[in-house]
Symmetry: C2
Amino acid sequence: MRDASPQGTYKVQALDRAFAVLDLLGESDTPLGLAQVASSLQLHKSTAHRFLMVLERHRMVERTGNGKFRLGLRLFDYGNRAIEQYDLRERAQPYLRRLVSETEETAHLALLEAARVIYIDKIEPARSVRMITRIGASHPVHCTSVGKAILAFLPEDRVEDVLRRTRFERFTHRTITTPEALRVELEKTRRRGYAVDDEEFEEGLRCIAVPVLDAQRQPVAAVSVSGPSFRVTAQKLPAIANHLLQCVRGISMDMGYIPMGRAARIAVPA
Amino acid sequence: MRDASPQGTYKVQALDRAFAVLDLLGESDTPLGLAQVASSLQLHKSTAHRFLMVLERHRMVERTGNGKFRLGLRLFDYGNRAIEQYDLRERAQPYLRRLVSETEETAHLALLEAARVIYIDKIEPARSVRMITRIGASHPVHCTSVGKAILAFLPEDRVEDVLRRTRFERFTHRTITTPEALRVELEKTRRRGYAVDDEEFEEGLRCIAVPVLDAQRQPVAAVSVSGPSFRVTAQKLPAIANHLLQCVRGISMDMGYIPMGRAARIAVPA
DNA sequence: TTTTAGCTTTTCAGAATATGAGATTCGCGT
DNA sequence: ACGCGAATCTCATATTCTGAAAAGCTAAAA
């Protein structure tokens, strides 16, 4: 694990280890026994044991019937408190629901954090293929519509910073893999008013997103609509974009922000 | 196995302190500065500072523009991973949504953890007074419909254990404040097949709940419908209960469980 | 039944680790 | 510019965590 923290000088071994334990349990989709935890993290059994006991006391982990460990519900509590402080999520939900019923595709709400986007909400239409995205998960900016939507309207220096911290990992044959190409794409995004991820993250998945601007007209989040490419066709994009714009306008108003100005209307062909 | 209270003998000071910091930030509805954190927890400035820096590196806390600290989005990630392992939430959502549209009142999904119930989902009808409950929050069993619903169908020894660990705190003049009274109430609950919280937690709020049973017919969760007493009247309870039973039956089937047997039908007066 | 193997739990003396007093720097309001 | 409260940093010390080793479990094999 490469740590790119600017001032990584402060250290508390116990915390690093504890979070390593939580990470391990979070990655694993099946509960793990003490021995597994200890060997995976190269901790001695007794050390791992002590940590797990303490974490259990705090309900950060819990034991299944057979004595194995998994993440505890206290984390769920913390997580909800954390997200509550943003309160964007709650306010946005009704608008997202409307958006989903209008488009019949999955909607996401995401924030930019550090140099990655975090999905903070996902609404799926009644019957649809389950999206693989997990709420709370973070993704790189270069291959997501929400990432591009936010970046496109961020001040130049912030963009620089994010790009510098991005490894342009390739996910599909269409993934944008250079800062230069992404910059061109961002310019296109600004011109048309919405961002597109055309199977750049996952084969067969097309997404479209617009940013949510705050009172200072800075993007604080983005809303996207995603669906299989055969349903979310290029022809439909402008129409979907209009729904998106209406959605974020609603959210902005609700939050007391100024709605997006220019590019607020997009030509719908035919 | 029977005594679930793990001796608090294991200790890692650093972890206790770190979680105290997270708790503090989680309780506070406004971001806190280093000095506030240090003095609230009686930590020395440099200690608090070091912890906050490490927590920030792990994105467990983050700094607002003016240098104050609040919970970080990493917790949101962890929280979603934690809840995902239960996968009850995801599966239950469509059924809850249906329930909400049928009853036009707020629905909750809750789990029993240790001796308290944790709300893991909440769905509100389109326009309604915002409920104060927060997803992720935990409440005592004695004053909630979900708590009573679960307890009523739990084996005697587990009930004992929960009751022993419950302080019967009073919230309203109707709150049940003794184990004996609660036991009577549980018996009533079993007989009628659904649990009721009649303004026992909050003045003017009436809730009704039924348990979700697993393959072994053990309650793993409960679903409730809550609303202002003037809308959720005593007359309507049986009808709502029927919607609830249909809802949990759907959830149970979806999870591969056996639907509730007896008490599956409730007489709807006229 | 007894034995074994693999896991978890406990103990404790030693030493690496976190601690906190204090010095320094930052930043804001006057 | 100045002062004051707050944040950041340093470092010698002892408190706290560490991990070897051994004792308990539990369940499956002999």
